[in-house]
Amino acid sequence: MSALKKIILINLSLFLLAMIAIVWIIVHELHQPFLQVDLIQVSVLKRIILVDNWLPRFTMALLVGGALGISTIILQQVTYNPLASDSTLAVSSGAYIALLGTHLFIPSLLLWLSSAMIAFLGGLASLLLVFMMSYRNQFLPIRMLLSGLILNLYLGALATALVIFHPEAAKNIFAWQAGSLIQDSWHDVKQIVIVSLIAFAILILLLRSFEVMQLGETQAKSLGVSVVVIRVVCILFVAYLCATTLSLVGMIGFIGLAAVTMINQLQLTKAWHKLLFSYTTAGLILLLTDCLLVIIQFYCSFYLPVGTVSAFIGTPLLLYLIFKALPTTISISNNNSLTRCDLLTPIKTRGHWILAILIILILLWSSLTISNTQYGFISTGWNHSLLNIKLPRIITAISAGIMLSMCGVLLQCMTHNSLASPDLLGISSGAAIAIIVTVMAMGYDIMPLWLPGLLGALLTFLFIIAINIKNKFQPEKVILTGIAFAAFLTALIQLFLVTGDPRIQYLLIWLSGSTYSSGLLSSVVIFLVALFILFILLIFSRPISLLELPENMSNALGMNSNIARFLLIVVSTILITLATLQIGPLSFIGLLAPLITRIIGYHFIRSQLLMSSLIGSILMIAADWLGRNIMFPYEIPTGVMASLIGGSCFIYLIRRS
């Protein structure tokens, strides 16, 4: 059977299933026996419900799904990347943060601009940022993907901060974020029809270029197609399409990715086949999913927004993609200019060490002896009761900084990739997932949250080992697994937010990484553990540095690189678990500290470990201090603050490099 026949068959069966589900819903809604439905006898009210509620909802599902499907296939075509989609390139998180900010700070803007417009501006801005971050690399697909994912994380931290400070108002946004297709009129449908028509017009114009682009980047270039221009046009177009759908129905992730993965597996040859069937398949999948959720609601009376469910489906899909569909030739290991640059210009000064230690001392001293009060800043001296509060937090922050920085150095060395970071390994997400599940299943009264956290981290770690053992811990795949876990965590948090439970606030704060409740004893213990691991790593710095060489070379030098990698992953996991329990699953410290270390000219493992530990500590003390004082007396959790500082620096650095 040819690929074309197969995809037509799939579409037909999806269509049939969806029709059955729709008939089921209508019959259930009308309370009339099947096959004897008499539309004339239906009451006025029921007719209103049918015409203004269900029919636009079904139409909306098809159109939204289609729009997301076509956006995804276009993104994948122009970036040559089977992992690109609206949810992986930060379009949706950009749109979300724009709407959140507008609702919280300038609600009157909503009366002037439609929320679709605001979402579009946000989505476009974040896409432009991804562009700027990957501009120097000629939009290298992998660099773009990583930039998108990192921006996703950064915007996530920003959203958390906003939600923490405006808990009551933010509840409205949660409902939007969950992604629901409920319609009450044809108004929104009309809007999306207009947008889709414009989209089709643009697509017809671009169709020829797509055919050429399919041949590959170099061929396309030699045939006179300006790849960069087409990319820019397409991505603007995708931002427009996605932002409009998202502002109307909220976040519905991974539907496009699911449909397009199916299409890619079938290997259709013609570009317009691909586009057409991406549209129909994604539309039908979303319609069917939504109908099934409605039927579940009829019989079990619990409501699940389709966006949340699609995000859940997304994780296994992403994992499947990583291990099956993603060709091994695609590698994140970019020989990026940063590393080469360092090797050419090794700088070595004693000044750095003295400067770093001096900064730490000054930060420590001022952080401990200056307090903000409702009367302004005052010097408290060595006030015992205040020290009692501050010291544990600062020590905890420092330890987390040291651990994350070490971990970052190890990962970056192992993966030959200066963009690897502990957040992207997934262990921290695993720990957070376990904690949320525990709280959801067993209630909030279980206070030692660290226990499920540790278990979750260990299970994730075992899982990562299990699925990576065949790939011999191929570094890229390990990190992509982590990204999948982070996506799952986001979906889970969404599900929890949508329940409207007022206590979610507290969980959010924990997740955002607060050093708030650290005790003196536990913080000192953590600090000693961090120093101990640093010591051990320094002793073994020579064998570790061999891993930086290509694999065949390090093997030739008498190193069993598989065992070494395994050991290093174990150490990294321990470090990440400890740090996550202190400051939450996200922060860019592990990415940033090693990066800065490289930029200022350290490329031996030993000095890298030491220097990035110092830089990590500086960043964390600064984050803690700023978090406590920027919005005094409202405290921004250290983890969020670290993500915001780290993320901003990172976006700046990656643009410069």
Binding site: L111, A175, N388, I389, D501
Partner: protein, 302 residues
């Protein structure tokens, strides 16, 4: 490179100078001779303590309190403790309070033994929402804790009296049922059952609550616009503020809403915001603003 070093050293030197010039804290700015100094991060406890005239010195998130609770107004002497979920420990330490009252859940979040303070937990809501008798009982418990039992009796009888007054005023309006809702956006809303603050007030005013289905532990269900069609025929909608700025604009384009009886003038009432998870003071406010709206004494528009 030289520029960077100059910049860094400039920052260091200026921060040292700044530190030296800071005022000293040796004058104790937060010392009063009050025997008990109470703080809380729970707005429901805060409003009750204010109504009981207890010596309240600090409340969590006073900025948002003004928007969401409003009355009773926090006077200027009451210090902002920061986030309700994570009050600023340094501020608390400087305030030198003697008693921290919170709900059980919040109390667990505040690290113990860091600040010398007596802790007490008071819950106005159980896992099944709340009820009139439970709120009265809890108010009395709280009053006992802060030595204000007389004031508690006054507050309770005051509230009861207001209810009977309002019942008198409501006698003139025709009998129908009421659904108390808050708009999340133009598609979804929260509807409050009998075990919510609004529901308790409706019962006390002998008004019928149109929402008889189950609710969550905070007394509300999240529904979509279509579910409003299942309400009894002669129902009026009580819309409690706040709602997103563009809700009215979007509802005008919403054909389902336009066809629902509630969109017609006179079938809905808009009330100013009242803390939906509050206690007696919030009940008093809701009761009087509801009566004012139903007897058409005050008419709020979108």
């Amino acid at each position: 490179m030289k520029f960077k070093i100059t910049l860094i050293s400039f920052v260091i030197v200026s921060s040292i100078l700044w530190i030296i010039h800071l005022p000293d804290s040796n004058q104790d700015y937060a010392q009063f001779d009050n025997p008990t100094r109470i703080i809380t991060t729970d707005w429901t406890i805060a409003e009750t303590l204010l109504a009981l005239q207890a010596p309240l010195v600090g409340v969590g998130d006073t900025k948002e309190y003004a928007t969401w609770v409003g009355e009773p107004v926090l006077n200027d002497n009451i210090v902002d403790l920061g986030l309700r979920s994570q009050p600023n420990l340094e501020v608390i330490a400087n305030l030198k309070p003697t008693l921290l009252i919170n709900s059980t859940w919040t109390q667990n979040l505040i690290p113990k033994n860091i600040i010398p303070i007596k802790l007490a937990a008071i819950d106005f809501y159980t896992n099944e929402g709340t009820s009139w008798s439970y709120i009265v009982q809890t108010t009395e418990k709280l009053a006992q804790l802060v030595n204000r039992t007389n004031q508690a009796q006054i507050l309770i009888s005051q509230t009861e009296k207001q209810f009977t007054d309002n019942i008198q005023r409501l006698k003139t309006i025709p009998k129908q049922s009421y659904a108390v809702v808050q708009f999340i956006d133009s598609h979804q809303l929260r509807i409050y059952g009998a075990n919510s603050l609004y529901g308790v007030v409706l019962t006390k005013l002998n008004l019928d609550n149109a929402w008889q289905h189950s609710t969550n532990a905070w007394g509300f269900s999240q529904i979509s616009l279509i579910d409003l069609t299942t309400l009894p025929k002669n129902t009026s909608l009580i819309i409690v503020k706040p709602y997103p700025a563009n809700v009215n604009q979007q509802l005008e384009k919403n054909s389902l809403w336009q066809k629902l009886p509630f969109s017609q003038q006179g079938n809905y009432y808009i009330l100013p915001s009242v803390w939906g998870f509050g206690a007696l003071p919030s009940m008093q406010r809701f009761s009087s603003s509801l009566t004012n709206a139903l007897t058409k004494q005050t008419v709020n528009t979108w």
